[in-house]
Symmetry: C2
Subunit: 306 residues, 2 copies
Amino acid sequence: MEELRVFAPATVANLSCGFDVLGCCLDSVGDEMIVRKNDLNKTRITKITGQDLPLDADQNVAGVAVNALLKDLEVQQGFDIEINKRIKPGSGIGSSAASSAGAVFAVNKLLGDPFDKTQLVSFAMKGELLASGNAHADNVAPALMGGFSLVRSYCPLEVLALPVPEDLRVVILHPLIEIKTRDSRSIIKQTVSLKSAINQWGNLAAFISALYTNDYDLLGRSLVDEIVEPVRSILIPYFRELKLLSQDCGALGFGISGSGPAVYALCRGDENAQKLKEEINIFYGKKGIDFELHVSKINREGVKIL
Amino acid sequence: MEELRVFAPATVANLSCGFDVLGCCLDSVGDEMIVRKNDLNKTRITKITGQDLPLDADQNVAGVAVNALLKDLEVQQGFDIEINKRIKPGSGIGSSAASSAGAVFAVNKLLGDPFDKTQLVSFAMKGELLASGNAHADNVAPALMGGFSLVRSYCPLEVLALPVPEDLRVVILHPLIEIKTRDSRSIIKQTVSLKSAINQWGNLAAFISALYTNDYDLLGRSLVDEIVEPVRSILIPYFRELKLLSQDCGALGFGISGSGPAVYALCRGDENAQKLKEEINIFYGKKGIDFELHVSKINREGVKIL
């Protein structure tokens, strides 16, 4: 096998009560990538369409992630990577993670699967480190593994795959505004009250239970973030109104996707999700802010060969 | 039915990563209570053996819990309560919770089960409020419901019953020393670093997953408390040595039970648990501190009729 074309999915990280540890994989939003072996013994980003991103492999998350893999494997093999970038950088739905995950997945396949998915997560994290200065795993893990991913530990890295209730749908709104990563980070307090932390871990624990028991109502009650959302949401135009709209439309939960500006709602069933999408479309359409809006199933597979 | 005899079990709350939200019910340690209707239209504590505790119903956790139930139900019925107290107050294994839970369970039965178990938890919490000034639920919930209980929310009260892996055993060591509740509480910081909180909720989420998947190794890796244990453990003689001993004996995890001084270890299988019990017996036997030591299954039933 000399060449692979893959779908590299968008992801929602920082899922409310699961800040920094819980993410899920989307189905209907993602990049396409073509990865092929070359004889040049080096990784090249040969083409990027859709977005203006660096072609220098050392400055591109896909190149950095692939080189981390190749260095670990100690093989002398070059790869050419083409990226059709459909996920906008800075959106909050794992743009860099998709490129990193897609690239290491394809290279691993072309080399005969020397690594398992958890190992691939650790290589893709090198791309995240380049993109945001922080080697977080809660986008690359669900991008590679599909479904819901829980990052239990970073040192050593341990990622768990969680069950996916069949009827879950995700509505994603991406307001096309720029939030500087620096602002989005600096706004978060580095200490929290013990009381809030206890509420948060009670909710996350209940959310995990709900995934195993297909308890949609419990999923909804547990999707609460009283630590990060209250401060980060002020950077997102009409966050509060969108949250109320989601509740009115019967969404299970609503919160910030990643570090924003995208927001997500979890819904039970296609009909509820499409209804919410329409309502958001009407509401946000009047606000003078460009936006993208998607409904997606949870992608159980993660990155896949096209 | 005029009279009931019940077994009111001991419990382990604050289970490491599940501080304040997660508890489990023990099988081999507990009080016995006899509750019978009287014609006096009042709740009386008629007999307490085993410990020196108040006979005034308004000063006894069982009396207070029962009166909260009767007040809510608006019935004119008196009850006499006898308690054979085998769980020492101040032990850290839910002594007050056992009395409160046993009393409301028995009264509820004698009245024809007007309340479900979650409602009983809220009445039993009134006993906890009397005992410790804090109406916490992570002892009374597992005492009433059995197994592992997760307190997702206090307002409104929501308690989840979690699955119990078959081979789990609990080793409980109760050093017979007094730790003042005031000291045990005041030592806990009311703010925590976001980083530690994230680690804690990642571990608790993984612990919940492990309960559903019977993954004993994951249970063990997740039983980490980096928030409360590091400070509270200094009040417990030889905590560090006991933890190392537990690890050497292959225990899945080790931590403080409740607010101490009792400590618990989770083990896989009877043999491992008995071996650890013997090792602790030898180790602690040389330290000049009186202690009690138990091995218990997880009690899936909670309070039960004898």
